[in-house]
């Protein structure tokens, strides 16, 4: 290795050198720009035949709603789905990456992926990045050992639960679950409870809104109900459309073509090699 002024990390991964600079700037009052978070209410519950996951569809960038109908339920494997809260880029990148790793694992082993495999791959990655990958996930699926539901926090800790909620609307959703959840729910009861929990998040939390997505996973079968419920339709659309009055009147139009001034030089220098 020749002498270089720049310190390159010998292996890949993040270099945290700029974090000190950012901290110093923050102390002086210069803050980082806010990034796109999913605000969010995400939930999951285990019912008698499997797992149901639910999510709202609002993505926020500070106080602005930047996506009114985003997809928060991510595909991990044919039998495993994952809801993501936190920074949208982080949840998407991390679920995509682990989904890829699970696919390779399936090829090598010739078997269906297990939920704990996805869980371990995710938590390893998140722990590695010490919480800087801001992804709070609700992972659910059905594999050969039965239905499983887990929550994963940005720092890499996990919980295994019969029902779980994450995101800014998690308290609103958990209130619904705590009062109405019981073991051995049927599929319709489960979907209704998930919808109630998400709606509670949509209507009572600013960071969540728009529509409800539901995903039902059972042994050998999954149903991804995108926009299962649309409780916020756009009702008042002006039928006449919008027309904006012209600002200033045009009195006179005069076009003056610019004269070309092109000089042709014969036998110029050849281009440098």
């Amino acid at each position: 290795m020749s002498n270089s002024a720049i310190d390159v990390p010998s292996r890949g991964g993040f270099s945290f050198d700029l974090c000190r600079r950012n901290d110093m700037l923050a102390k002086k009052g210069v803050n980082l720009p806010s990034f796109r978070k999913t605000g969010t209410t995400i939930v999951g519950l285990i019912f008698q035949d499997g797992v149901i996951l639910g999510a709202d569809t609002r993505a926020t960038e500070g106080p602005i709603v930047c996506d009114k109908n985003c997809e928060k339920i991510h595909y991990m494997a044919p039998n495993i789905y994952c809801c993501g809260a936190g920074t949208a880029a982080d949840t998407e990148a991390v679920t995509d990456m682990v989904s890829s790793q699970l696919q390779l694992h399936r090829y090598h082993t010739g078997r269906e992926s297990r939920v704990v495999t996805a869980l371990t791959l995710l938590k390893k990655h998140l722990f590695n990045y010490q919480g800087y990958v801001q992804a709070a996930l609700v992972l659910g699926g059905v594999d050969c050992t039965g239905p499983h539901l887990h929550t994963i926090y940005p720092h890499g800790s996990t919980d295994t639960l019969p029902f779980a909620t994450m995101g800014s609307g998690s308290l609103a959703a958990m209130a619904m679950f705590e009062s109405k959840y019981k073991e051995g729910l049927t599929k319709d009861e489960g979907i209704q409870l998930v919808v109630d929990a998400i709606c509670s998040g949509i209507f009572n939390d600013l960071g969540s809104g728009s529509n409800v997505d539901v995903c039902v996973i059972t042994k050998g079968h999954k149903e991804y109900l995108r926009n299962h419920l649309l409780p916020n339709p756009r009702t008042f659309v002006n039928a006449k459309g919008y027309s904006f009055p012209k600002k200033t009147e045009v009195l006179l139009t005069k076009i003056t073509p610019l004269r070309e001034r092109v000089e042709v030089v014969e036998g110029g220098d050849a281009m440098e090699e």
Partner: protein, 222 residues
């Protein structure tokens, strides 16, 4: 590659301009079990003999035909362990392509990348070329495709091809039997007949392996 003690390649030119190691690799392939592939108008079929060294071997654990992606499969002639390594690398490359471009990898791209890996091992320090030739069969939006990849890293697209022990007989048989616009079922039939030609002993579903790819699917059958 290059993290061994050797910084020089073991594959060097002979005075006549040949790479002797690759010739030897091709000989290794030529003494491997016969495999063949046929491209039909609506799919591709690949097949191979599966002769096990002893009747005690659990034949259900041996998979000579592997799928690299849901719509691309591969079979080999030559050294099994080398094949496993290549399959692993190809699968990883296919996944990486998919992650980057969010589209399933086209057959030609995967063949190109696999061939690049095989070529690397003919030019890197301290490693030997792979002792396998691959037949990659796939179906993407360009239609059904069949490629053969050699230890040197060169690849060719074939309408029908064979490799391994009985290659000359098999190829002659295929040349006679191949028809343009052949349907997939006829191709499977022809493939089995071709295998039967060079087969020592009784052919049965337990000692051959067949991979068929119709539109966007990869099956495996015995």
């Amino acid at each position: 590659m290059g993290d061994s003690q050797y910084s020089f390649s073991l594959t060097t030119f002979s005075p006549s301009g040949k790479l002797v190691q690759i010739e030897h690799a091709l000989t290794a392939v030529g003494s491997g079990q016969t495999s063949l592939g046929i491209k039909a108008s609506n799919g591709v079929v690949i097949a191979t003999e599966k002769k096990l060294p002893s009747i005690l071997v659990d034949e259900s654990s041996v998979h000579k035909i592997q799928s690299l992606t849901p719509n691309i499969g591969v079979v080999y002639s030559g050294m099994g362990p080398d094949f496993r390594v290549l399959v692993r690398k190809s699968r990883k490359q296919a996944e990486q392509y998919h992650r980057l471009y969010k589209e399933p990898i086209p057959v030609t791209q995967l063949v190109r990348e696999t061939a690049a890996v095989m070529q690397e091992f003919t030019q890197s320090g301290g490693v030997r070329p792979f002792g396998v030739s691959l037949l990659v069969a796939g179906y993407d939006d360009k239609g059904p495709q069949l490629y053969q990849v050699d230890p040197s890293g060169s690849y060719f697209s074939w309408k029908a091809s064979a490799m391994g022990k009985n290659v000359s007989n098999a190829k002659t048989f295929l040349e006679k039997r191949y028809v343009e616009e052949m349907e997939l079922d006829d191709a499977v039939h022809t493939a089995i007949l071709t295998l039967k030609e060079g087969f020592e002993g009784q052919i049965s579903e337990k000692n051959i392996e067949i991979g068929i790819i119709g539109e966007k699917k990869e099956f495996r059958q015995y």
